[in-house]
Amino acid sequence: MTLCIGSVMASSTDLDIVNVIKRFGAHAAVDDVSFSVAPGEFFSILGPSGCGKTTLMRMIAGFEHPTSGDIRIRGKSMIGVPANRRPVNMVFQSLALFPMMSVGENVAYGLTCRGVSRADAEERANRMLERVGLKGFGERRVTALSGGQRQRVAIARCLVLEPTLVLLDEPLGALDLKLREHMKIELKQLQGTFNTTFAYITHDQSEALVMSDRIAVMNQGRFEQVGSPRELYHNPATPFVASFVGETNRLQGEAAPVSNGAITVRLPSGAVVQGQGEAGGKNALAFVRPEAVALAQDPASLGNLPNRFEGRVSAVLFDGAASSLLIDTTGFEQPVRAVLPQAGPLAGIQVGAPVHVGWTADAMKVFAA
């Protein structure tokens, strides 16, 4: 399906990956992956470490070569094109700034490689530094910059070449939490102002959700699902996506016959939950998001919910707006995670307090295990 988009409307996509396979010996690091990225899009590949996302990115950059399949940039096949001839630039995980050059020389490096005169390159580098908020930093040593400034130099060094596509390999990994939160927003804004296509790889689902227009969730060399952050979060296509993207409660049990569109899953303890989805086989996995779990002191207020249970608070995980409760619930092996209400009688709930939990059948996604 992506193949058709790539070949028929070549000019409407910046990047087409067509049935790419990369084997290292018998192991397929990237196993038949296809996707397209539209111009100006912020596309993320999200997956745990070792899922093949770095190999995929290195193939796009030209440092690895696919065993089979095609990589096209603006419709032009990149097979056999060396890394230094591709209209793609990469922001490395370690940033890989040139320590032997000044900030200005780092940014001008790519231009001088293209034969732009020294004076012209320096001027364009300075203009680019100004646009990323580093005016007057041209003469500084790269070692004299802070983490966030180094980040901006690494991006400026790519953007000054006006590439079709910028690849970013977990560039925020080395930053501390506060700066990482700040850089997420800054990166998104930079991408917007330059209107350049970004392909971003990360294992951090929050980075991917916040910044991306579309996300591909990758696992064991394959794409599990490609979609917008909301789609992935609310309509995960596979159990892996459901558990990897965002916080969730995961239940395992036996699927029982379908009745009026809902599936019932019988947990090992005998408790029964109702959800939506398809359960092909006997075993099923069910997922419910913490924010979908309703809490009440009085069971009557949860009366119309098909899934109702009784429990006791085992832990209060206070984290401001992202606070949650762990509730030991009768019939469940793992405590149920729910969002701590910010107001109302339950806002001040303490460990050990009895509580009733419930959720709708729509909020519970069921997959065949």
């Binding site: 230094n84 990469m90 890989a96 490689c113 790519c158």
Partner: protein, 289 residues
């Protein structure tokens, strides 16, 4: 108080061998040689202060020509060693992994397990008129009579480069090893050719190692004695031979001392010039070596 005194005594005792070593074997002889070089023989067993020994150096063409030749050849040998060692060091540092890397370094080290004299004799066995190479050339019909490959500048340079190679490879490999692979990849990714990446990223990064290796090889070469004498024969004309001749053959110690001081001055001047030209400091260079 006592503890402090004891620790002081301890420090002194620990430093004593090094101080004795430096004082007795390096500082003292050099002071002696410096004093000796300024003494002229005015009558048998009677010496006076004077700069005659140094004047002799400048007035006798053989001396200063040998001196200049030694300086020029040493620079040439250092440059050749650098050019040969760079790809080897690059391979050891960037391509070879684990056991192969250790093996390659060991292979470089292996020739140094035998003495310099034996190694040089090895070259003589290969290069002499009745030697291996001459025989091989004759047996495959490339030469009709025995070929003498010894006793020329080529043989001297060959022997000196061979002797210096390890001392160039080790600091170079050290310097190149610390270059992050992603930095090299970034060099290509931003459009650099192999040559650009080498010139603008790899070589500047390796500069402290290059300078360190060059200093070591240059000093070893300038002060070498056995290799030029054995491989160069009468045509060797190395300045150390002149020093040897003054001290041992002519028994003119003051003249020999003056030559020794001049050689020290030469190597110091060239090292200083090298550091100035490459913009390196002695500190960073020594760290690399």
């Amino acid at each position: 108080m006592i503890a402090k005194q004891a620790s002081r005594l301890m420090l002194f005792l620990l430093l004593a061998p090094a101080i004795l070593w430096l004082g007795l074997l390096i500082v003292l002889p050099h002071v002696e040689i410096l004093v000796l070089s300024f003494s002229e023989r005015v009558a048998p067993r009677v010496y006076a202060f004077g700069i005659g020994n140094y004047l002799e150096f400048f007035t006798e063409p053989l001396y200063w020509r040998t001196f200049a030749r030694t300086a020029f050849m040493s620079i040439l040998v250092t440059a050749l060693t650098l050019v040969l060692a760079f790809p080897i060091a690059l391979y050891i540092a960037r391509v070879a992994q684990g056991r192969v890397k250790a093996m390659l370094l060991l292979l470089c080290l292996l020739p140094f397990w035998v003495s310099e004299l034996v190694r040089t004799l090895g070259w003589m066995i290969l290069l002499r008129e009745t030697g291996v190479i001459s025989y091989a050339l004759r047996s495959i019909g490339l030469a009709s009579q025995p070929v003498e490959l010894l006793y020329n500048d080529g043989a001297v340079i060959l022997g000196l480069v061979y002797g210096g190679l390890l001392f160039m490879i080790v600091p170079l490999a050290n310097a190149l090893e610390s270059l992050e692979p992603a930095v090299v990849e970034a060099g290509y990714d931003l459009g650099g050719s192999r040559w650009t990446v080498l010139r603008r990223i790899v070589i500047p990064h390796a500069m402290p190692g290059i300078v360190a290796g060059c200093i070591i090889v240059f000093m070893l070469t300038v002060g070498n004695f056995a290799t030029p004498v054995l491989l160069g024969g009468k045509n060797g004309l190395w300045f150390t031979e002149q020093i040897y001749a003054q001290f041992i053959t002519r028994f003119n110690w003051p003249q020999g001392a003056a030559f020794g001081m001049l050689l020290l001055l030469l190597s110091s001047a060239i090292v200083w010039l090298g550091l100035r030209l490459t913009g390196q400091s002695l500190g960073t260079t020594l760290k690399q070596a």
